[in-house]
């Protein structure tokens, strides 16, 4: 079991058949298995297989798929469906996610459970179709207007796409908060064997707030508008308390060869796979380096860094961006030791050798006899 904590604790019942699935299709199938019955989307590479899978398979489970006229509309359809109390999802890729930010702000403000998938591609602008992690800031720091947070999950294999998609729906219902699953074209397009685990469903709160028609109860209103500043502040304090609770209870990460590590490489998603290979090569050369892989990007797993205490002499983040997560690493360790960046951008991906070379360049003392 990976370290960190979650309010979703499951007992495994049985493991089922193995399937060879493409990442995007695995997300869609996992969502249907998690009870997602509404999907609203607009096609965009490299996420389109999710939409196509949903269009094909939702009708068979009495679900509904709508290809919206834009991502602006798709996210607002999700807003309506979530308010009506049904499990709903949308998926897109970077330019489409940008269009969804206004709607996301409304969804977060009204505390509605929506699951979103961003199969990130290179940006800014129309960018390119290659893999990227340049939407980290948008995902973890807001993106839309106002003070809100998404729970952000960053899988690094097709199996984890499946497992975290399921968790995303439960976390969204548990905390009444939108949850974003963030991956890239490599994870979305590659095929790996997966199992759909039969797991106990966690106990989740009833959706007594849903606008379903006021039969037999006082009417429900979904609104975030507060012209009285006192009410506005009370709302903000309520949201803040919720986010603090999530930050305290939902940090997840994976660590590898960290116990005796003098140096730690930090990477999530695709780059964590590459970084792991680099760490293995470094270990063969006798370099004491480990890997810390954030699984939740928000809340960022600061507990993992706190647990490492003062033992670590330096960190290297590996990112497909100009360096975004590196800011959270520096904050997590209070800038106590150097934090360096190894990155490629615009759809390019570093090799394990490149990561190791960069590591040796920034930490020459890590190498036996190095200066």
């Amino acid at each position: 079991m990976a370290p960190g904590s979650s309010t979703i604790n499951r007992k495994r019942v049985v493991a089922l058949k193995k399937y060879l699935l493409k990442g995007n299709e695995a997300i869609a199938e996992a969502a249907i298995k998690a009870g997602c019955r509404l999907f609203f989307g607009y096609p965009i590479t490299p996420s389109t297989e999710i939409i196509e899978y949903m269009a094909k398979h939702l009708p068979a489970v009495d679900g509904s798929f709508v290809q919206a006229e834009s991502e602006v509309s798709a996210i607002n359809m999700c807003y309506g469906a979530a308010g009506a109390g049904v499990r709903v999802m949308t998926a897109s890729s970077s330019p489409g996610m940008s269009l969804m930010q206004e709607g996301l702000s409304y969804i977060a403000a009204n505390e509605l459970p929506v699951v979103l998938v961003n199969i990130v591609r290179a940006g800014p602008g129309l960018g390119g179709l290659g893999p990227s992690q340049a939407d980290y800031f948008q995902a973890t720091k807001g993106g839309g207007h106002g003070d809100y947070r998404l729970i952000v999950l960053a899988p690094n294999s097709v199996q984890e796409l499946v497992d975290l998609t399921r968790d995303a729906f439960d976390l969204a219902d548990m905390h009444r908060n939108p949850v974003l699953l963030i991956a890239d074209g490599i994870l979305g397009q590659m095929m790996e064997p997966v199992v759909f685990k039969e797991l106990e469903a966690p106990s989740l709160p009833d959706k007594t707030w849903a606008t379903t028609g006021a039969e037999g109860r006082p009417r429900n209103i979904i609104t975030s508008y507060a012209l009285q500043n006192e009410i506005g502040e009370a709302n903000c304090l309520r949201w803040e308390a919720k986010y603090k609770n999530i930050a305290a209870t939902e940090q997840r990460w994976e660590q590898y060869m960290i116990d005796d590590a003098d140096y730690v490489v930090v990477a999530y998603g695709t780059t964590a796979r590459i970084a792991k290979a680099a760490v293995q090569q470094a270990r063969q050369e006798g370099i004491k380096v480990g890997l810390l892989r954030p699984v939740t990007l928000w809340p960022f797993p600061v507990k993992a860094f706190a647990a490492l205490g003062g033992k670590v002499k330096g960190y290297l983040t590996v990112e497909l961006s100009a360096g975004q997560m590196i800011e959270d690493v520096r904050l997590a360790i209070n800038c106590a030791v150097p934090v360096h960046l190894c990155n490629r951008q615009g759809g390019m991906v570093p090799s394990p050798e490149e990561v190791l070379a960069r590591f040796k360049e920034v930490f020459p003392n890590s190498v036996e006899g190095g200066v």
């Binding site: 019955r37 509404l38 609203f40 509904s64 709508v66 919206a68 006229e69 834009s70 602006v72 509309s73 798709a74 607002n76 359809m77 999700c78 807003y79 309506g80 469906a81 979530a82 308010g83 009506a84 109390g85 049904v86 709903v88 206004e102 709607g103 409304y106 606008t211 379903t212 028609g213 006021a214 039969e215 037999g216 009417r219 429900n220 209103i221 979904i222 609104t223 975030s224 508008y225």
Partner: protein, 153 residues
Amino acid sequence: MAKIIFKKPEALTDKQNHYCPGCTHGVIHRLVAEVIDDMGIRDNTVGVCPVGCSVFAYDYFNVDMFQASHGRAPAVATGIKRCLPDRMVFTYQGDGDLASIGSAEIVHAAARGEKISTIFVNNAIYGMTGGQMAPTTLPVRRQPPAPGVEIGN
């Protein structure tokens, strides 16, 4: 004994409305509420109110209400109706909301044949933000201050 021949509809709350005299939102709210009463669907209705003067419609319609962002009410209503096909789902939108920022949402909800109802209130201006021109503003000649200014077109 006195016989009640006229009363406030059940589908309206007791809250006094904030609308300016003569704007007609109050009258239109009442007409919508009377229809909801006549159809006996107060418990079965979800209303979506927009951004605009009628943003507070959720305070006045005594049904489950949902506040949408500017122009997006038909998309929100689509989401609700697709989940709850047996409920009456309506949007209540101004002309800035429906015909300007939300023109795509309303056109495509209609093109898809969404089973929602839309109350479109055209006051030919952006009321809430102070009377700016909307796409619905007619080309009329404003009299003084001279010289006359063409608006619209």
